[in-house]
Amino acid sequence: MSLLDVPDTRADTTGSPTADPSPAAATRSRVTPVAGVLLLVGAAVAWELGVRLTGTPEWIVPAPTAVVRALVDGASSLAPAALVTLGEAAAGLVLGTAVGLALAVVITFFRNLEQAVLSMALLAKSTPIIAVAPILTIWLGFGHAPKVLVTALLTFFPMLVNALEGFRSLDPAIEDWFASVDADPVTVFRHARWPTSWPYLFAALKVSAPLAMIGAVVAEWMGASSGLGRSMWLAYTNLRMPALFAAVLVLTALSALVYHLVTRLERRALAWRRA
């Protein structure tokens, strides 16, 4: 008989386990953002009422309406400042991610370097950034370079640790198969370790991308000619709290936006996990 004459076992087994999300899950996904917005609005209303009813001075805690007013009035200066900070954070994130990834790849291929590389990395990670930032500013000036470096210093470690974990988390059964065909380490890395690590890399990015924004702002506080950090510093030294809060609001919104973008990217890149 022909090998193809076998009964088709596909008929009862083709269902995709995650093809149709349950109605409950769909409802949950609609409800969650609405609940989030309501919570935010509620908090803002409570904050506004609290400030007004207690008569708290604006230079201590400004009301949300005052912050919004400062945001609108200062939009022409906040927008370019946000762009500068965003650019520095992005450059630092790219640099930190690249260095973290490169070190993880090196350690994966040369295990005997692990202790030395990780010790150095831990040293760099453990040094307080608040101490490093002014030093870098003195060395490199008030331009973008120290901000990019500070951001890279903040972001490389999560990427290094997660990438290393990702490269090592290859399914033992897959590892056995590659061993059975005597695949070389580069082939195993390219076809298996690298894709296996993607969920770990995105987890690192979700931590380090918002962290990059903070890194850039901290570095700007130490001395800068532009950026959100400088806007905050100017507002702080002049006790213009609504302007300071407006700058913080922009920074928070940008961090949330960056996180959201990474999450979207993750969903697209890891679509196979939903198969």
Binding site: M1, L3, L4, T9, A179
Partner: protein
């Protein structure tokens, strides 16, 4: 339809002499002597934890025996593995979940760099009834279909030695029987040397030329049954049942028996066994 060409290298005989293996202080296998003729189909059965999978890993060259010697033809298992002549099919299909079925199979071809006599991928996928699912991701397939994809990947290697570690264990009864029949049909066509580890006595007797019975840890050979019955085999046939009973007796003779529940009572469903339709 097209069929894969026979392996470009002749199927090798397999010789184990005094093979033993320790996992730290635990002796997993001890004093294994075994000869497997070239092109034969040998099933290895035994209770859970008796070292069946360890034995297969040693033959595959994935681990080295602590004692004794294994020869595949005239070569050390590690040499045969380096020559990419070991086909490996485990209980879990171990497909790359981010790659399509076609890409998974193509990867084996790419790594092994099979000679031009090797078949194209499409006939291979048709052979395992996955022609229409070439662009599907493993996660979109059932367990049986994933194992068929893993089988296609193994066939793409064109290896003369197939080592299978309970390849049907994770599948439901119907899928298991269908895939066993397909595997047997492909083996009869290509005639590689096969070592098939299973804990299903009926499956072993219905598929293999010989059934090697291992005792509990440390695993040693406690029986070696020749299955001199024509294929396809009806699992309800008295001759098959006698051999299953004999294998069970051998397992029973070593104090501890852990075999699949379905093997404890003879199956009475006529024509339901793999042998009935191969």
């Amino acid at each position: 339809m097209s069929h894969p060409a026979p392996p470009t290298t002749a199927p090798p005989p397999l010789t184990l002499r005094g093979v033993g293996h320790d996992h730290g202080r635990v002796v997993a296998l001890d004093g294994i002597d075994l000869d497997v003729a070239a092109g034969s189909f040998v099933a290895v059965v035994g209770p859970s934890g008796c070292g069946k999978s360890t034995l297969l890993r040693l033959v595959a060259g994935l681990d080295r025996p602590t004692r004794g010697r294994i020869a595949i033809g005239d070569h050390d298992p590690a040499e045969v593995r380096r020559a990419k002549q070991v086909g490996w099919l485990a209980q879990r299909p171990a497909l790359l979940p981010w790659a399509t079925v076609r890409d998974n199979v193509a990867l084996a071809r790419e790594i092994v760099a099979t000679p031009r006599s090797a078949p194209d991928l499409d006939p291979l996928l048709d052979l395992v009834s996955l022609g229409d699912f070439a662009d599907a991701l493993p996660g979109q397939l059932s367990g049986g279909m994933q194992q068929r994809a893993a089988l296609a990947r193994m066939l793409a290697q064109d290896a003369p030695l197939w080592l299978m570690d309970e390849p049907l264990a994770a599948l439901d009864e119907l899928t298991r029987e269908g895939l066993a029949a397909d595997l047997l049909g492909i083996w009869e066509r290509l005639r590689p040397t096969v070592v098939w580890v299973t804990h299903h006595l009926t499956e072993a007797v219905s598929l293999a030329d010989r059934v090697v019975v291992l005792g509990p840890r440390p695993g040693t050979v406690v029986g070696d049954l020749e299955v001199d019955l024509p294929r396809p085999r009806d699992v309800t046939a008295p001759a098959v049942q006698d051999l299953v009973r004999e294998a069970r007796h051998l397992l029973g003779s070593v104090d501890e028996v852990t075999v699949a529940t379905s093997d404890l009572a003879p199956r009475r469903v006529a024509g339901a066994g793999p042998g009935a339709r191969a």
